[in-house]
């Protein structure tokens, strides 16, 4: 098969690895991690643009190197060729190889901040305008000095504290190691981050299962949703996570 993969750069290393071993011919396009911060419909609109720009004559299906991603994939429509998306809440579940493993881990370890190579090395490098927009909308990503410059010393400090309080609720940093790391630099960064915030550091092993199945064309319905033309990605609010939604042209 000739396939097109549209993926998030946060899992670029993992997807590149499985792509190199896929029996299929796959063109890949990676989009900035910053889409995650744009969130919801804004992320979806950007993904839709890339889906719509894909030549349906050239490919048999479009693979999404994404999960539901805070509803960033919600409403994404298949045009002339199917879309394939893993059943998962986010890339942490993808990196763990299954949404069930993720759910179990999540339930057993409240207050965990996850890190992987992509989360450590990939910035929010959307183009400057979009970046500015995300930051002023949510306040996320501002450095203390920027807030102070914009809102004054006292207000800036207050905002910085307010916008980062959630980090205080975390207790642990879990680093997902995949074995693709060139050396210990990523683990070191993750350990340093944990130490800075006073979080426990834990390391778990990633699992390529979902990535492999995605690029190998092994799209069993328990792990993937295949969205045929005329349908869009819906959310199912249950263990299936995503479902088909009719989306007539």
């Amino acid at each position: 098969m000739r396939l097109k993969l549209i993926g998030c750069e946060v899992i670029l290393r993992e997807l590149s690895f499985v792509l190199s071993r896929s029996p299929h011919t796959i063109d890949a396009e990676f989009l900035p991690k910053g889409l995650h911060d744009l969130g919801g419909s804004k992320m979806r609109d950007r993904l839709q643009e890339v889906v719509d720009a894909t030549d349906p004559q050239r490919y048999e299906a479009i693979l999404l190197g994404y999960a539901l991603c805070g509803n960033g994939a919600l409403g994404l429509r298949a045009r002339a060729i199917p879309l394939v998306i893993p059943r998962a809440h986010d890339c942490i579940a993808l990196l763990m190889g299954s949404r069930r493993r993720y759910q179990e881990y999540f339930d057993a370890n409240p207050g965990v901040y996850f890190r992987s190579t992509g989360w450590l090395e990939r910035g929010r490098d959307l183009d400057q305008t979009t970046m500015q927009q995300t930051r002023s909308l949510t306040g996320a990503g501002y450095a203390l000095q920027e807030l102070v410059d914009k809102y004054g010393e006292e207000n800036g400090r207050y905002l910085f504290e307010q916008l980062h309080t959630y980090r205080r609720h975390y207790q642990q940093l879990t680093y997902i190691e995949t074995g693709l790391e060139p050396d210990g630099r990523f683990e070191e960064d993750a350990r340093r981050e944990a130490q800075e915030h006073g979080w426990r550091f834990t390391k778990i092993l990633g699992d390529f299962q979902l990535f492999e199945r995605l690029v190998d064309g092994d799209w069993d319905p328990d792990h993937f949703l295949v969205v045929p033309p005329g349908y869009a990605i819906g959310v199912s609010y249950d263990e299936q996570i995503v479902r088909l939604e009719e989306a007539p042209e």
Binding site: N71, G139, H169, V235
Partner: protein
Amino acid sequence: MADLQKLYEAVLNGDNKTAVAVTKEALAENADPIELIQKYMIPAMAEVGKRFECEEYFVPELLLSARAMKGALELLRPLLAEKGAEPTGRVVIGTVKGDLHDIGKNLVASLLEGGGFEVTDLGADVPPEKFVEAVQLRNANVVCLSALLTVTMPAMRTTIEALKNAGLRDRVKVLVGGAPVTPQFAKEIGADGYGENASVAVNLARDMVKASSHAC
């Protein structure tokens, strides 16, 4: 005389210091706390909400205005209690179990306080039984549930079920919100309303409390 228009502007512009200073000055001159709230602070917060919806204001501006409002309210609250003023409604609010995100929830809580509600904020990662307990203890008539992760959204459903099982569901209106929450989800889990943003949430809470008091 305290220039009360300055109170309106301080809340609107997120100027906590001025809001507190003007309120103090007004109170020293025996101003009516209810008038301060209703004529200046609530309209200022309404304007903040409007600007937020028109995308002239964003989260940082909202946080600063909410803080200015809170600063002034803290001075007024003891006086309100003395006067026996009834709150607009009694709200229990929290981020559901498993979810530690609280910026959105804090904003809604502040705006609700600004809207005259008595707010019990249970914080983040709140298990269903805590909501039940707080509703009983505070005699609440509104429960606001927040989630930022699709993985924790099901905890909204279990919280509503816990309220049902405790026999409290009919006594309270349940509002849900948070980035991944949709009106469809709200409907599916049997919530009474969905607030797309903090400002909508406050209006919704107000309408619901009004509607339910008329029904009685």
